[in-house]
């Protein structure tokens, strides 16, 4: 008889595509939390998040901003004595919260990632001004003006092109993407 997956199993499964990740081996030493440069901006430290996942505290984990505050610097990952790639686990949690639309409200990370991927799927290249809606979402019109001023400064220095670049053969490129994920079509 099939048993229901624990939350810990679900998260472990999210990390399987590239490589396994032994979060069960965590000894709760806190090296990750002590290493993390963003820890003071997190609701829970990385050590606490692993503890919560293993204890099946799903609601607490899903309500946390911790993984969306991870900068992917991998400092914790290279220091973990149990060999856990904690930064990669944070990616798994980001994916979980995006797929299930459970992420904390008011975070810019999910909107940013979504618009980034749509932009790449649309042109093959990244172009900063196309990310403006994500800024607007978080920082409001005033924040957007501040960004625009900075963008103008960069433009004057020849560091911000006016038009986005596109790769050639976009149709095939998009067919390739659709073989993986139909993003940008359903929503």
């Amino acid at each position: 008889m099939a048993t229901e997956l624990s939350f810990g199993d679900e998260i472990a499964n999210m990390m399987y595509a590239s490589h396994g990740n032994p979060i069960r081996e965590c000894i709760q030493c806190g090296t990750c939390s002590g290493t993390c440069p963003a820890v003071e901006f997190m609701d829970h430290t990385p050590r606490q998040i692993i503890g919560l996942i293993r204890a099946d505290f799903k609601d607490e984990v899903l309500a946390s901003n911790t993984y969306w505050s991870c900068a992917s610097c991998y400092h914790c990952s290279v220091r973990c004595p149990a060999g856990i790639d904690i930064a990669d686990m944070m990616y798994a949690l980001k994916r979980y919260s995006m797929w299930n639309k459970t992420h904390q409200e008011g975070l810019i990370g999910p909107a940013f990632s979504e618009s980034f991927v749509k932009m790449i799927v649309g042109s093959g290249r990244s172009f900063e001004p196309q990310l403006a809606p994500a800024y607007l979402f978080k920082y409001g019109p005033q924040g957007l003006i501040k960004e625009a001023q900075m963008a103008t400064g960069l433009m004057l220095k020849g560091r911000m092109p006016l038009l986005p670049k596109k790769i050639k053969g976009l149709k095939n490129f998009q067919r390739m993407v659709r073989r993986i994920i139909p993003i940008g079509e359903s929503s």
Partner: protein
Amino acid sequence: MKRYAYYPGCSLESMAASYNISTLEVAREVGLDLKEIKNWNCCGATAYFPVDELLANTLVARNLALAEKEGASDFVAPCSACYKNAYFTNAYLKRDPDLAEHINYALEADNLHVEGTLKVRHLIEVIMEDVGLDEIRKKIVHPLRDLHVAPYYGCQLLRPRKDHENVENPQFFEDLLSALEADPVEYPSKARCCGGSLIITNRKAALDMVRKLLEDAMNHKADVIATTCPMCNVNLEVYQAQVNQEFGTHFSIPVMYFTQLMGIALGLKPASLGIGKEMISSAPLLALAQG
């Protein structure tokens, strides 16, 4: 004979244009033939992985496939984030036939196929290993004497661990700067994070991380911070004014790509290295280096 496929990445076409220019100038000067991959796509930086791991790997694999098709032996990225993404996708392709099959099924729609046979390397690694410090020393025209440089490695050049690097206290950047006769300062934060894309998604956290890096460079009397990555450079340089606004600080530390410092030492013209495009002028320090 190595054949280098050059993958500049998106930032080098916009905010980090001077990194691209100085890379190409320096490469020519030291005899590295970097051939830009035709029709490359964005590697995804840190933004695809929160959406889909397989998609992220596939988009990276497309660039590897293009480079393989062009007959390259080495894939060279000047951006640490592009480098890290390409390095790991390439490694997974070799290690995991199931993943490779999935990716190749998708790539087939774009008439491509990937094997994972390239050697993926960061630009600084190619300069250190394939050109070598002896060769660089021979070509120095303007030694960067008395220039105190903070060697900022950042994250993804070193981490996650790839194969041979010293992740806690690397020295190769100091060695390169010493070869240019500059004075690399002790910089305890040299491998701490600049905040990366948190500068967009969590501005407060990123500005705080940048502030700490600037403070550390100042406390160690650095005239300039040298970088190996466009994201580090933009966060430290373009956002320095916002750090000052947010924390009431008065930082005004020039930030330069290591290729720009190399170019100056090799006697190349500042304008040909994109110098003059920075928000915090490096002119005073160039006068110092050349005086």
